[in-house]
Structure formats: C-alpha cells, structure tokens
C-alpha cells in the first residue's frame, strides 16, 4: 500500500537538500536488497565498521550531535553512553516504530521505502553497544510495513548481513519484529518495553532509565526509526560531514510530515534550521490565510501565525517559543478553521489514550474533554476557559509517571491562551452563561 509519493526537488533556493534518510525513497523497488545495494546500502558493513572499536562509533555519533527523532530530541550519543560497559547481562536495542503521534507519518514511509537502511543502522548501533538481540516494535496497524520489514530481514539474513558472524566479522546480531496492538502510550519507551514483554503498555517510573535496566531487566537502548537511519551516514562519512547540515545545536537533517492546510502534504527531508515559511513554500505553499500551526506533533504547544513566521525548524527556535520540534509533524491551519474544534480532537485523543496509571492524567484528560464538549455544545459558562487551563495545569511535568500527561496538557494550555476569543465566543452562545450540563454524568461522543 503506497500512500505517498516522495517528491522533493534536489535543490531549494539554490541550496542542495539533504538526502541522508530519504536517499532511496524515490528509487523504484528501493526496499529490495539487490536494488538498495546498487545504491550503496550496507557500505558500512565491513571494515568501515568492524575495523573500528565500538567506543569509536559511539564517539563519532556523539560528535555528530545527532538527536533523537522520536520526540524528545535527546542526544543519541549521550544516551548510548549510559549503557554500562560490562553489564554482565545482554544489552538490547529496541527500535521504536510505534509512530502514533497524530500528524506523524515519516517512520511509516521509512519502513515502506528503505527498510535496509534501518537494518544497516541497527547493525552499526548494535556493534557499538555490544547488542546480540534487537527488536523492532512496529505499530499494530502497520501490517503492510511489517510485511516489507520481514521480507527485508529475510533478504539480509540470506545475504549474511544478519545472524552469526556478520559479513565475515566476529559480530553477530539477530533482529525480531514485535507487533503492537493499538495503544499510543506504547510509543513511550518504558510503556513500549512493558508491551514488548507481553504486558499492558503502561510506562515505568524513571529512573532506572532503560539504558541501565530496560527490557527483561537488562540494559536497553530505545531509539526511533529515523534516528537509527541516520547512523550509517555518520559512520561512513563522519560527524563533520553530518554537521554540514543544520545548526550548531540541531545538526543534520530531519524528516518532516506536513498535513493540514498545505498544498502538497507529505514527507520532506530538510536541513534543521529552515524557516517554517520557507518549508511551507517547498511543500507547495499554504492554503488560505495562516491562523496557526502545530509545529511538532499533537503534544507540541500550538504557535500563532505570527510566531510561525518567526520560527525555524530546529530544537532551539521552538523551545525559545515554548513549543517543541517533537516528532516533526507540522500542521498549519488557516482562518477557516476553528481552533476550539482542533483542540477538541486533541482532548478526545488524550482522554482516550491515557493509560490510566496516574490520577491527574487519567481524571484530568477526561474532565478537560467533558468541559470542552459542554462548551462546544453551548453549555459552557463564564470561567470555563480558566477552568480548562487550571485542569490542564494539574498534569504538567512531574505530576505523572511519563511525559504523556504534560504532552496532553500543552495543547490545552496553549490553545486556550493563544486563541481565547474563539473559546469565549462559544460561551457567549449560552444565554445563561453558566454551565448547564452535568459533567460527571455525561461523556458525550465517547471516542470509542
């Protein structure tokens, strides 16, 4: 099932665009080993990797400044450095392909178009960390991608690129695919580990961090698909070459999934640091007049049009605007859209996906959802807008086991404060101006 073409120009504004992750995305049959190899796949699997000591690879990746592409943006080399040197236990590598953040569809494309680059990245990473067994945790809905991945794994095993003594070296690696079963929370790394172990995917309190004690109580490195797909380039060309792209603190390139009011929605690979407005032009231009933009997946605080015009696509710029780059899902919306209804889709989502472990998150996300529903249905009262905000404040950072809570609070806080008049307009529709619906009893339009 091919849902997207990948069509981006080689150059933009006279600058070459990076093709580190997306090199094979537009090559017909690039997911087949034979074709991929003709285009340079597995070039690192040989002396380029095995003649170097594992710590040198970790060092190179740390130098490159590569940061996690799953959402948190944590420096990859630093995370790898947390793995104990002689743990006395196996070290596991787990690839996070649970991609569930609304608006994000880049990992799906990666698995569809270039599974061999992921496998190559896993071999490099596995060698660096002393991993013998690795897992790829794939979102349950992505059946076609699981088929493609399994085929690619079979090809790699048959070619001696996986299994015992890879490519004649002394390094051996096995990779298993684990299929998720539909729960957004399993994208959170410790929830993912619980799910991998066959349990409910409820997150674990950190510390201990997975790098010290993760899957089956052993050191476990969890990395996003796209993160690992950048590793072969760094191993082959070096940290310096990688830093040709991007900014000092956000080096390299990143895949962005853009949807919403944009002429050519899809996935694009661009250097970090590109202004959002330039990116929109690259994606065919905005449709209508910009009202706001969710810059980094549904959890990222929304930007106003004015903020969007100032922002660049990197970690620093967005954090200075109190938002985040997240998973790189960009959703601009125009003045024909109602921000209140946009927030409603998000509060529904979070209320439904809260795993139920932490009280503020479990109760709070549902409560916010009900208050907002009542407001939209014309049952809102004065003070409801502040109520929404104060409820969301209850599941801010540090109040919950994982970052789901804060990620659910940020859209509420940001939409309410940046688009307040739109919320007030709904309250004005209620002549009584006090809440006229019992919230505990009703759960209108329950998501499932």
């Amino acid at each position: 099932m091919t849902l997207y073409g990948f069509s981006q120009p080689t150059h933009w504004n006279g600058q070459e665009l990076p093709r580190i992750i997306s090199r094979l995305f537009d090559v017909p049959d690039g997911h087949r080993l034979e074709v991929a190899r003709r285009h340079g796949a597995y070039a690192t699997i040989g002396p380029a990797l095995f003649d170097r000591a594992p710590y040198e690879i970790i060092h190179e990746v740390a130098e490159s400044g590569l940061r996690g592409r799953g959402g948190a943006g944590f420096p990859t080399g630093v995370k790898w450095g947390f793995v104990p040197r002689a743990p006395g236990k196996p070290v596991y590598l787990v690839i996070n392909a649970d991609e569930g953040e609304p608006g994000t569809f880049k990992d799906r494309l990666c698995l569809t178009r270039d599974p061999h680059l992921l496998i190559e990245g896993m071999i490099c990473t596995g060698y660096a960390l002393g991993v013998r067994t690795a897992y790829i945790y794939v979102r349950g809905e992505m059946l076609p991608q699981i088929c493609i991945l399994n085929q690619a794994l079979r090809e790699a095993y048959d070619a001696g690129l996986l299994g015992e003594r890879i490519a004649g070296s002394r390094y051996s690696l096995d990779i298993f695919v684990h299929r998720g079963a539909g729960a957004y929370i399993c994208g959170e790394e410790t929830g993912l580990i619980n799910s991998l172990e066959g349990f409910k995917g409820q997150p674990r309190l950190k510390p201990p961090f997975p790098a010290v004690s993760g899957a089956f109580g052993a050191p476990t490195v969890v990395n996003n698909v796209e993160t690992i797909m950048a590793v072969p380039y760094i191993v082959q060309h070096g940290a310096k070459a990688y830093r040709r792209w991007g900014t000092e603190k956000s080096p390299g390139s990143k895949l962005f999934s853009v949807s919403g009011d944009i002429a050519r929605p899809g996935v694009y690979e661009v250097p970090l640091g590109m202004p959002f407005m330039e990116f929109f032009a690259l994606a065919g231009g905005l449709v209508g007049e910009l009202l706001g933009c969710i810059p980094g997946g549904s959890s990222a605080p929304v930007l106003t049009a004015e903020e969007t015009r100032r922002a660049t696509m990197d970690y620093e710029s967005l954090s200075s605007l109190k938002s985040m780059l997240g998973s790189g899902a960009v959703t601009p919306f125009n003045t024909t859209r109602d921000p209140v209804l946009i927030l409603q889709t998000l509060t529904r989502f979070y209320a439904h996906e809260s795993c139920g472990q932490c009280t503020p998150c479990r109760e709070g996300t549902g409560y916010v959802d009900r208050v907002l529903d009542a407001l939209i249905d014309g049952h809102g009262g004065d003070g409801d807008v502040d109520l929404l905000k104060s409820l969301a404040d209850q599941y801010e950072p540090m109040t919950t086991i994982c970052a789901f809570g804060p990620g659910a609070a940020w859209p509420v806080q940001s939409f309410v404060s940046k688009f307040r008049p739109y919320f007030e307009a709904y309250i004005a529709k209620n002549p009584q101006r006090q809440r006229t619906r019992d919230l505990a009893g009703v759960r209108p339009g329950a998501f499932w």
Binding site: L3, G100, H178, G180, A181, G260, T345, W448
Partner: protein
C-alpha cells in the same frame, strides 16, 4: 459459540509458548484466525501457555486492537485524527450512522458492517480517510461516502 471451537489454539500456543513476552503476538494470531478474541479460545490459550486469565483480560482490554466480540463482516474505520477531523470526518460518521442505523462502535444486526472511529492512521495528507477492511478511501466526500463503502463491501 460453536463456531469458535478453539481448534487452532494449541498450534498458536505452541508457536509462542517459549518465546519471551509473546502473549500479544499470540493474541494477534488468535484474532487473525477468528476476527476477534473469543473468550473460550483465550481461556484455552492461557491454559496452554501458562498465562493466568487475569493477564489475558488485562492485555485484551488495554489494547484497542483486540476485539472481544465478533465484529461485522466489513469493518469501516473513520479516522478521527486532527487532519481528518478538520476535513470533515464527523460528517462522514454521521452519514454512515444514519444509513446503517448504528452508532460508532456498533455492528449492524445482520453482522454485515462494523462502524468505528480510529485515531490518526498516518495518512493525514489524504484526509479525510476512511478504511473499509484493508482498503483505504482517501479525500472522501460526505455525499459519496455511503456509495463508496457499499462498493468496497461488494468488491470484497
């Protein structure tokens, strides 16, 4: 219940029993076979794999993917993710509900159709998206949704 005689359960249990953390994979197989997770089959699976029923309950109810009742023959999923919602998904649900006489999350009495709302399925560029079984309908228009769904069901 007779239709769900757990004939394949021993094979599934055997395939996964010795693999660590494989309960979810085994349940996937079970649902693949029956279209849902029948209670008696799950009981049997638990016994054979040495997993307490409590854990099976826990897992089947935690994950959205597992169905505890036989769904309709054709599963209609309307994406309610941000992009699809913005581009008119609620209207699509309303049209389908009206035509089929069921709410989202329900199955028609003749067991032909199951209507559900799902979270973002990662095709936001094609919003609004509806899937019928494995088929993806892109950029669906409210006026056409009912006909399109019936056409898919016929083709299947």
């Amino acid at each position: 219940m007779a239709a769900t005689a757990p004939a394949d359960v021993p094979a599934i249990a055997k395939k996964w029993k010795d693999k660590r953390g494989s309960l979810i994979m085994a349940l996937h197989d079970l649902q693949g076979r029956y279209g849902y997770v029948p209670r008696d089959a799950a009981l049997e699976l638990g016994k054979l794999m040495g997993v307490p029923l409590a854990r099976i309950y826990e897992v089947t109810t935690f994950y959205n993917f597992f169905k505890l009742e036989a769904p309709g023959k054709h599963i209609i999923s309307v994406c309610m993710g941000t992009a699809c919602y913005l581009k008119g998904a609620p209207e699509l649900v309303a049209r389908l509900s009206e035509k089929l006489g069921i709410k989202a999350g329900e199955t028609t009495p003749d067991k032909q159709f199951h209507l559900q709302q799902v979270r973002c399925i990662g095709c936001c560029g094609l919003a609004p998206v509806v899937t019928v079984n494995e088929k993806v309908l892109a950029k669906v228009k409210p006026a056409e949704i009912v006909d399109q769904v019936y056409a898919c069901a016929k083709g299947a």
